[in-house]
């Protein structure tokens, strides 16, 4: 039964690693609201999908963020405030147009998102690949550990080890 307990404990630890980086603090300023819109905890007025559904932004951990669209971590740095504002206004990319042509973002939403993206670019300009690698490594070790523990419950042979032990003794010259 102790093996079962171990399995439970390990999966709990694994889950903790995956979800820890998401911070769920509510915010009131522009950037805070922008973050909530970006993540999807606050809905766009006209019902457009939150950015995080398709894009990634560093700082949201492993389970959040997607890679359907490009990583937006460096969006603000690359386009500047005007560029970003322009993009948010039209969203004229083929895959986004289908969603946002009928559900455009309103002005305050655009301003909030811009503030958030600006803040995000200031906080960490580059995606944290080192942290990601670390998390993957830990996950891998936990998974391997689980496999090992489950493997320990397999049936053990009785007869064959007796024969093998004797053969080893003979090979070592211990017995004739």
């Amino acid at each position: 039964m102790s093996v079962n307990r171990w399995c439970c404990l390990c999966s709990a630890v694994l889950a903790l690693f995956l979800f820890l980086p998401i911070s769920l603090a509510a915010a009131t300023d522009d950037a805070g609201r922008g973050k909530e819109l970006f993540v999807g905890s606050m809905a766009f007025e006209l019902g457009g999908a939150p950015c995080l559904a398709c894009h990634n932004l560093s700082g949201f951990g492993l389970s959040a963020g997607a890679n359907y669209g490009p990583d937006l971590s460096t969006l603000y740095d690359n386009y500047g405030p005007d560029g970003v504002e322009g993009v948010l206004q039209s969203l004229a990319f083929p895959s986004m147009e289908a969603i946002y042509s009928t559900r455009p973002l309103n002005e305050t939403e655009r301003a909030d998102l811009l503030a958030f993206l600006k803040q995000a670019s200031q906080l960490s300009a580059t995606p944290e690949t080192g942290k990601l690698a670390q998390q993957v490594l830990i996950g891998l070790i936990v998974l391997l550990g689980l496999t090992f523990l489950i493997g320990k419950r397999r049936m053990r042979a009785t007869r064959q080890p007796l024969i093998d032990r004797q053969r080893n003794l003979i090979n070592k010259g211990g017995l004739q």
Binding site: M155, R156, T158, R159, L162
Partner: protein
């Protein structure tokens, strides 16, 4: 007092010649089917040896039988919740290699092979996969290998002996072995019954035969690990577990079970024993060393008027009581006290008893005179097998039990030697009898039962009274058409 009747057996190990006729009889009757090839409901092992399946006696490996958990008795494989936790994967089972992979030979290759320079051969193939295989084990692979440094040396009973005792046992000029035929013990406190999650295993009320209902069994295989004797087997073709049924269909027709009937050495005795079911739990909780004695204490005297009255009240038929009074097992187990249960320390209260093997005695000659009675128990050298080994097998480690039986067996042997050869002092015969605590008449009775009985005296099958049991539930004519061999019922699905 809660009296019940049990059809129980005695195997006389000094008489077993290890011919495996019993195993073959059983195989031909019951397990000659796909999925059952590897099962030997009856098997004969060489002792010292690891047996079948390999090291079945080692409960550290297989976790069979009961253990004491505080004041309670608990299956060694764990309590109910532990059982539930491993219901889809139970690691405490023997693997196929521990039984053996059943094999046959491609005999048709001998006649069908195209003409060529080489003699055609019949290659061994697995009866499970059908593929060619290397035969590396069998149900009696270690037959007669009493000195083998793989099988005999790893006997769980030998391993617990001291280095000195082991050396003595395997000294080439004193090499010793005996055969241990094993069937299901039809225990009073059966582990398989307690372990079954489907409630498919039951002990028949009227004769104590333990059976697995093939309708209810769902193949969880908990009985395989719960039985310390490894006498339930999983049939991989039917997906159900099976075990020795003590040939109850034969017994109901008044015939001896197949293995009993075919026994060449006439080592097998069968008869009814009466026991007090109220005492099962208390007895099963005793210390290892007390178990062999306490279990025989539970068995009641069928001649005692009090017992007869209580049996009548419990609904045991008078015909069964008559059979109990003629029972040879009662004589061996209770009256003479020379038969012991196998591994009573597993606490299942097995109802198959063994007369331990005395084997040819190594007697020392001193100035031309053989001293048997005096010397036999003063030194361990005289006994062929270490008493500790036998005590581990038949008495939960209590050497006094083995000594008591040996004293009786040696007294029988000395008295008979005096009668047939006549080369012993009368004083020595008397002394042996005195040490054993037997009368001349009892010794004569033991001798007669051991060697001069007919099958009707050795095997006293009680009337099973199935007619009455059937009539209570259904019309006998309908029963005749619906039941018996070949009847098939679709399992009742509960989902």
């Amino acid at each position: 007092m809660n009296i019940r009747a049990q059809v129980s057996s005695v195997f006389h190990l000094d008489k077993c010649i290890g011919c495996h006729t019993c195993s073959i009889a059983c195989k031909n009757i019951w397990t000659d089917r796909k999925g059952a090839e590897y099962m030997w409901w009856n098997n004969v092992e060489t002792k010292p040896g690891t047996g079948y399946p390999t090291k079945w006696e080692d409960q550290k490996q297989y976790k069979g039988g009961w253990e004491k958990a505080g004041s309670d008795l608990q299956l060694k494989m764990g309590n109910k919740s532990a059982l539930l936790g491993r219901i889809f994967h139970n690691p405490d089972l023997p693997t196929m290699d521990d039984y053996y992979e059943p094999f046959t030979f491609k005999y048709q290759d001998l006649t069908n092979a195209p003409a060529g320079d080489d003699q055609p051969t019949a290659r061994p193939v697995s009866m499970v996969s059908g593929k060619p295989m290397k035969i590396e084990a069998g149900p009696n692979w270690d037959d007669d290998l009493s000195g083998s440094n793989i099988y005999a040396a790893n006997d769980p009973g030998v391993v617990q002996l001291s280095e000195e005792e082991q050396q003595q046992m395997f000294a080439i000029e004193k090499m010793v072995m005996f055969y241990l035929p094993r069937i299901c013990n039809h225990c009073l406190n059966a582990g398989c019954v307690a372990g079954c999650p489907s409630g498919a295993i039951y002990k028949r009320g009227e004769d104590g035969i333990v059976l697995i209902s093939q309708d209810k069994c769902r193949g969880w295989r908990m009985c395989v690990s719960a039985c310390p004797y490894k006498k339930t087997y999983y049939g991989w073709s039917t997906g159900k577990s099976e075990k020795c049924i003590l040939c109850y269909p034969r017994q109901e027709a008044g015939e001896a079970p197949g293995c009993f009937h075919s026994c060449v050495g006439r080592i097998r005795y069968l008869g009814v024993l009466l026991y007090d079911a109220d005492r099962i739990e208390a007895v099963a909780k005793l210390e290892d060393k007390e178990l062999a004695a306490a279990q025989r204490e539970m068995i009641l005297d069928p001649f005692d008027p009090e017992v007869i009255a209580a049996a009548k009240k419990a609904g045991i038929a008078t015909a069964v009581m008559d059979a109990a009074r003629k029972s040879p097992t009662y004589k061996f187990v209770k009256e003479w006290g020379i038969a012991l249960p196998l591994h009573p320390e597993f606490r299942t209260l097995p109802m198959l008893f063994y007369v331990p093997p005395l084997l040819p005695i190594l007697s020392k000659e001193q100035q031309g005179v053989q001293k048997l009675a005096d010397d036999f128990f003063t030194s361990l050298e005289q006994a062929r097998l270490p008493l500790k080994y036998l005590a581990g097998l038949f008495a939960g480690g209590n050497e006094e039990e083995i000594k008591a039986v040996y004293r009786k067996l040696i007294a029988v042997r000395i008295q008979r030697r005096n009668v047939t050869v006549g080369d012993l002092d009368n004083a020595e015969v008397d002394k042996a009898r005195e040490i054993a605590g037997l009368s001349t008449e009892t010794i004569e009775a033991i001798f007669r039962m051991t060697s001069l009985t007919s099958i009707k005296q050795r095997i006293v099958i009680p009337p099973m009274l199935r007619e009455q049991a059937i009539e209570a539930g259904m019309d006998p004519e309908a029963y005749k058409q619906e039941m018996g061999f070949g009847s098939r019922k679709a399992p009742k699905r509960r989902w």
